[in-house]
């Protein structure tokens, strides 16, 4: 179980409890279920234009995944449903992975299809969007203390992709934005995990993103984990992010532009994300629960040079429901 509290400088506050259940029926068959709720209180510019006192909303999301092992191959099939006031999403997904080279190399791939239905509030009209997403990754053990992963992701999104709440200044008139009806996204990633002396571990992640809206971004994340005792783990990390703007983004528009937007996610900006996490797993279980139970506390702070700022707090509880073994 986890509880997340998100608040940002756009006036949005989101409280999100989530529950994850994992069950291994045999050593080859497993099931994972997840349910979460986002309780959203929004006083952002997109809501405050009509709701000066802010607007409350809620999003419920549930997912189910079945995993089956066939020797060194693992196959997963699953789905996810989410529903909120003005958006519904249905996703089917599958993934497969295989261990090679005596378990030192793992090749994995996956595909998902999403059918999304945004409602053009305050109108009752519902639009449609179709998203195909695929990835391929290779994870390899370089040494007794080093693991690397190379990944490639591809996504094709067709259908309605405007933001029905944000209006762009066109000829000095605030006008509902209009984006292209197709978007192709690609990512390349390189990740490293390195075990260091004195119960310390280093992590480095790099992701390069590009799409046909001409948004290019780089994200570099570095982190350090350390066991103060075998029961108490601390992690600190920093993520640096930089993106260009969409080819059709301008602060304001004149004439009769085909595409125009004021979506804050499509402007060029840099950002930094600081995070700190503590994980405590007592030897005899937490608060009388089974051995293996533990608690996680995390704080994140996101700051962009566009003036956007967000703080996120997470508290998590892990409780083995079956026979727990001391970790």
């Amino acid at each position: 179980m986890q509880f997340h509290a998100f608040q940002d400088s756009r006036g949005v506050t989101v409280l999100s409890p989530t529950v994850d259940l994992e069950k291994d029926f045999t050593d080859r068959l497993g099931l994972r279920a997840r349910f979460g709720v986002d309780a959203i209180s929004a006083a952002s510019d997109s809501c405050a234009r009509c709701h000066s006192e802010g607007a409350n909303s809620a999003r419920a999301v549930g997912s189910l995944t079945v995993t089956r092992k066939f020797g060194d191959t693992k196959l997963a099939l699953g789905g996810e449903l989410s529903q909120e006031n003005f958006y519904r999403s249905t996703t089917l997904l599958t993934s497969i992975s295989r261990s090679l080279n005596k378990g030192n190399t793992t090749v994995a791939g996956g595909y998902s299809f999403s059918f999304n239905q945004p409602t053009l509030h305050p109108e009752e009209t519902t639009e449609q969007q179709y998203a195909h997403d695929a990835y391929l990754s290779v994870t390899h053990t370089l040494s007794k203390s080093t693991v690397v992963q190379l990944g490639y992701g591809f996504a094709q999104i067709n259908g309605y992709q405007d933001n029905p709440f944000l209006r762009a200044p066109v000829n000095d008139q605030l006008t509902l934005g209009h984006s292209p009806g197709s978007r192709r996204r690609q990512t390349l990633s390189l990740r490293l995990r390195q075990a260091l002396p004195a119960d310390t571990f280093a992590e480095v992640d790099y992701r390069r993103y590009f799409d046909d809206w001409q948004i290019h971004s780089s994200a570099v994340s570095v982190g350090l984990s350390h066991y103060f005792t075998r029961r108490l783990l601390a992690n600190v990390s920093y993520r640096w992010y930089q993106q260009t703007g969409a080819f059709f983004y301008q602060p304001s528009y004149l004439g009769n532009p085909q595409y125009f937007t004021s979506d804050f996610r499509l402007v060029p900006f840099d950002a930094g994300l600081y995070a700190g996490r503590l994980v405590y797993t007592p030897r005899n279980g937490l608060w009388g629960w089974r051995v293996g139970s533990g608690i996680t506390l995390q704080y994140e702070r996101y700051r962009a040079n566009s003036g956007f700022d967000a703080a996120i707090f997470t508290a998590g509880l892990r409780v083995p429901l079956g026979a727990g073994n001391a970790p």
Partner: protein, 75 residues
Amino acid sequence: MSMLKRAAALCGLLVSGLLLSACATVKPWQRARLADPCMVFDEDASLAGYRAHWLEAREGSAGGSGVQGGGCGCK
């Protein structure tokens, strides 16, 4: 990125995988530190998934962590 470049990138990824598989093999009794949760990518999948969710709602890019869910109407 053209189809040809995308295919080349994919082939490069697969070739890299094959080349890496030729590296020295770590024996099972040498994998003690590799079994630590800190050496597992996205060991806490729920935490990683939540971060990816709110980052996608606030940035113009997404992906790089497996297949995605259906997104949201986050504004």
